[in-house]
């Protein structure tokens, strides 16, 4: 639609120069405003096939999780941000405020899952952390195993839906562990930069593990993509 508007403006400016310049200017401002209002978030592709994380997470879960759950967050985030943009233009503060919940929930869902897909890798590609990341983990927690045990316990203990996180505290210059409820995004909620997340919404594991969340959380370490975590760590330290 934005493209068509631009074509329309061009045609007008050839046929009706003087008037067209005024019309084109107004339409262009509206087009730019509309383009900004209609910014589209999109579902990222997975870096691997749906079945690639088996036997830790089944292809069935991955397909539902990505194509249904994450996709819905993206769709609803677009709807909520469009609604916010319209309400902002109209200076409708009631609607601006009323939209915040949907933006936090769906925006958080989109952020969290976009990180999650990259945080994971096929079991055959697993390699433990090394270099700076390993040094930081050992310094902060004693060992990789100690960190995993602690984060697993915190994550299993999340009441209801939520996420466990290995994060980076920029101010303190250290790694930190945290949990968040629902789709609350780590950085916006706590200030920590997300490095590795564990989704413990039941949709993330129920079909494979039923209610045995501890087994899922224990198993997920086998598919942790430490290279991705290291890259985020390097970026966060800048």
């Amino acid at each position: 639609t934005a493209g068509r508007r631009r074509e329309h403006d061009l045609l007008f400016s050839i046929i009706m120069p003087a008037a067209a310049i005024r019309i084109a200017a107004t339409t262009t401002r509206k087009t730019v405003a509309t383009a900004a209002a209609r910014s589209k978030f999109t579902l990222p592709d997975l870096p691997y096939d749906y079945g690639a994380l088996e036997p830790v997470i089944s292809g069935q879960i991955m397909e539902l999780h990505h194509s249904k759950h994450h996709n819905t967050y993206v769709t609803n985030l677009n709807a909520a941000t469009d609604k916010l943009a319209s309400a902002t233009s109209a200076e409708d503060v009631t609607t601006i405020v009323a939209t915040q919940g949907a933006i936090k929930f769906n925006g958080g869902g989109h952020l969290n899952h976009s990180i999650f897909w990259k945080n994971l890798c096929p079991p055959k590609d697993y390699a433990p952390p090394d270099g700076d990341l390993k040094a930081a983990i050992d310094a902060q927690f004693g060992s990789l195993d100690a960190m995993q045990t602690k984060l697993s316990a915190m994550t299993v203990a999340v009441q209801g839906s939520g996420w466990g996180w290995l994060g980076y505290d920029k101010a303190a210059g250290t790694l930190k562990l945290a949990t968040c409820a629902n789709q609350d995004p780590l950085e916006a909620t706590t200030g920590l930069v997300p490095l590795f997340g564990i989704d413990v919404w039941e949709h993330a594991y129920y079909l494979d593990y039923k209610n045995v969340r501890p087994d899922y959380v224990k198993a997920i370490w086998k598919i942790a993509n430490w290279a991705d975590v290291a890259a985020r760590f390097q970026a966060a330290k800048k």
Binding site: L64, T72, G101, Q159, G160, S161, Q183, W201, E202, H203
Partner: protein, 143 residues
Amino acid sequence: RRRSYNHDFFWVEMAPKGKTGKPSDDLAAAIDKAFGSMDGLKEQWGAAAAPAARFGSGWVWLVVDDAKDLKITSTPNQDNPLMDGAEGTAGIPVLGIDVWEHAYYLKYQNRRPEYVSAWWDVVNWDQVSSWYADALEGKAPQF
């Protein structure tokens, strides 16, 4: 207010299809007064149970409030409307649906609205009617 209250409530308020009875005259009249009709209740219930309305895990309830009116409310995680400081409308629950993913995921996956619609087939209206009568006298379901 034990953690298991919600699930004690849930098992007892349901019954196999065909053994669900029907709402008492009093309950039917109260539903019509509050929601226009049974369909009105189901529509508002569906809206309250939608993922966009109850983010994350939780329950949707039909309560008898302080004014003895029927209201739909929802609570997060394992809270219920009898708890001090619970979200939403306080009151005595007479109907409730679990919308934690574990309640429906094996059969409905992400399709929560389908589960919520289908669930009406297993509501034990005889039990709900009995709880409603008790609620009018200020008594909550006990387990």
